[in-house]
Amino acid sequence: MSANWKANQRRLAPWLFLAPGLIMFLIYVIIPIFQSMWLSFYDWDGLGAKTWLGLENYRELVDDDAFYTSLKNNVIWLLLYMISVPAGLLIAIFLNQTIGGMRLYKSLFFFPFVISQVVVGLMFSWFYAPNFGLFYNLIEWATGTGIAILAEDKYVTYGIIAAGLWPQIAYVMILYLTGLNNVAPDQVEAARLDGARGWKMLWYVILPQLRPATFIAVVVTVIGALRSFDLVSIMTDGGPYGSSRVLSFYMYEQALSEYGYRMGYGAAIAVVLFAIMMVFISGFIWKMWRDETER
C-alpha cells in the first residue's frame, strides 16, 4: 500500500463507503425529483418530442375541477388519518398489561400493518359490498336502507380512509406500546403518590415521556396519508366519477393510464404534491437536525 493512501485513508474512506449507496440514491431518487420539476414545463406523451409550455400545465391545473377534488380529498385524508395517533395510543394503553398470552394478543392486533394494502383494500371492498357486505347489512339493519359506501360520491373517500386507518392505527399502536414500555416507573409511582390519576396522569406525566413515539407516529401518519394510492386504486379506481381521487392517484391517471400519456401534466401534479409534502418534510428534518446538532 502506498504511503499516500496510508496518509489519506481516514479522509477518503467515508467517501468510498458512501459511493455505491449515494450514487444509486442520487440516480434513482434525488435527480428524478429535479427531472420531474423540469418536465412539468413541457407537453410530452412519453415517446415523441417534448414541447415547451412554460407555466401552461400549472395554468391548466388552476382551472381543473378534478385537481381540486383530489386536493380536497388529500386534505380530508390528512385530517382523518390523524385519528390514528390518539386511537393507536388508546389501544396501546388498553393492551399494556401482563396477562397470559398478551404477547400473542399484541402481535395479532398489529396484524393489519403486515398485510399489503392491496389485500386490505380487497377486504374492505368485501366488507362494504352492496347487498351482502357485512357493513352494508349493518347499516341496513340500523337504518332500514343499506348504503353502498364505495358507490356514493358523498361517502366513498371516508370509506377508503377507514380502510387505511386500520393498518395505520396498528402501526401507531406498536410505536406507543414500545414507548409505554420505556416510561420511567419511578416517575409514575411518584406522581401516583401525589394523587395523579387517569387523564391527569396521562397528560402531565405519561405523554411528555412518550414524545419521541408521538413524533414518529405523526411523521409516519402524515406521510402515509399523503402517499395514499394503493387503496384508492384497488377499491374504487378513483370513482365513482373521479370523486375518490387523491393527488397521487390523479397524477398516475394523467401520466400513465388509459386516459392518455400526459407526462408533463402529470409531473405538474406531482410537483404540487411534492410541494405540500415538503412543508411537512422540512418540519421533520428541522426538528431532527436540531436534535442532532444539540447532542
Binding site: 389485500v119 386500520w166 420505556n182 402517499r227
Partner: protein
C-alpha cells in the same frame, strides 16, 4: 407502569379485562376473519346467499382453483425474485453508508445524512416518470431486476437512517482502539463493526422484505405482464377478472398476505425492533 397493572384491580375488573381483550381482538380482526372464512367457502354457498353463516363445507379447492386457473404461483415467485435481491442489495449498501456517516466526521456528513432521510419521505409520483424512463432506456422495463434496482436505491434511504443510528449507539472505543493498533479502515468495518450489526441487519431484513413484498405502486409502474408482475399487481388484475367471485378473491388475498405474515411471526422481535427505532430514545 401505566396504566395501573390489572393484577391490582378487583377480581371482577380482572375478569372483565380478560374477556374484553379477546372480544376487542375479534372485532379488530373482523375484516380479516371474514376474508379467511370466505376463502374456504364453497361457491355454492355464495350463490345461495350464505355469506356469513357457517360454510356448508370447507372448500380448500378454492385455493387449488386459484393455482390452476391463474398465474398466482408465478406472481408469487416474481415477488420473491424482486424482494430477496432488494433485501440483500439495500442492506449491503446501507451497511456501508451507515458506517461512513456514523464513524467519520467530515464537513458534509449531516447534509448527506439528511439527504437520505428526506429522500425517503418524498411522494413516489415525483419520481415516477423519470424512473420509468430510466428503466425503459436501460432496457429493464418489465424485468424483476429493473424493479429490484429501483427498490434497492429507494430503500437505502430508510436503511441508511437506521444503520447510521444503530452504529452510533455502538461503543466507539472499539474503533478507536483498532485505529491505534493501525488496523485498516475497511478491516475495522468488516471485522469489528459488521459482526456487531447483526441485530440491525436482522431487523431491517424483515422490514424491507415486508415493504417490498407489499409494494403495489412501483409494481404497476415498472412491470406490465404476468411473467414479471409481483403478487400485488397480479392480485389487482385478477380482481378485475374475478368480478363477484369473492371466494377466489379471498383465497388469492390470503395467499398474497401469507409470506409477510409468516415472516412477521417468525421474526417478530426483530420486526418490532426495526419499526420502533427512534421511538424509544
Amino acid at each position: 407502569m401505566f396504566p395501573r397493572p390489572i393484577a391490582q384491580a378487583s377480581p371482577a375488573g380482572r375478569l372483565f379485562y380478560k374477556i374484553a381483550v379477546p372480544v376487542a381482538l375479534f372485532l379488530w380482526l373482523l375484516p380479516l376473519l371474514g376474508v379467511a372464512i370466505t376463502s374456504v367457502r364453497p361457491a355454492s354457498d355464495l350463490a345461495q346467499g350464505n355469506y356469513f353463516g357457517i360454510p356448508s363445507s370447507l372448500a380448500f379447492e378454492n385455493y387449488a382453483l386459484v393455482f390452476q386457473n391463474t398465474p398466482m404461483l408465478k406472481y408469487m415467485m416474481n415477488s420473491f425474485y424482486v424482494t430477496i435481491p432488494t433485501v440483500i442489495g439495500a442492506l449491503a449498501l446501507s451497511c456501508m453508508t451507515g458506517f461512513a456517516l456514523a464513524v467519520y466526521r467530515f464537513p458534509s456528513n449531516l447534509i448527506v445524512f439528511f439527504m437520505f432521510v428526506a429522500g425517503n419521505f418524498v411522494p413516489f409520483q415525483i419520481l415516477m416518470v423519470p424512473v420509468r424512463d430510466l428503466t425503459l432506456s436501460l432496457g429493464m422495463y418489465n424485468t424483476w431486476y429493473g424493479l429490484a434496482l429501483f427498490h434497492i436505491a429507494f430503500q437505502s434511504g430508510f436503511c441508511t437512517l437506521f444503520m447510521r443510528n444503530f452504529i452510533r449507539s455502538l461503543p466507539f472505543e472499539l474503533i478507536e482502539a483498532a485505529r491505534v493498533e493501525g488496523v485498516a479502515e475497511w478491516r475495522i468495518f468488516w471485522f469489528i463493526v459488521i459482526p456487531l450489526m447483526r441485530p440491525a441487519i436482522a431487523a431491517l431484513s424483515v422490514l424491507v422484505f415486508t415493504f417490498i413484498w407489499n409494494d403495489f405502486f412501483w409494481a404497476t409502474v415498472l412491470t406490465n405482464s404476468p411473467d414479471t408482475q409481483p403478487v400485488t399487481a397480479g392480485l389487482s388484475s385478477l380482481n378485475g377478472q374475478w368480478i363477484a367471485q369473492w371466494h377466489l378473491v379471498s383465497a388469492g388475498s390470503i395467499l398474497a398476505a401469507l409470506p409477510p405474515v409468516a415472516m412477521f411471526f417468525l421474526m417478530q422481535k426483530h420486526f418490532i425492533a426495526g419499526l420502533t427505532l427512534g421511538a424509544v430514545k
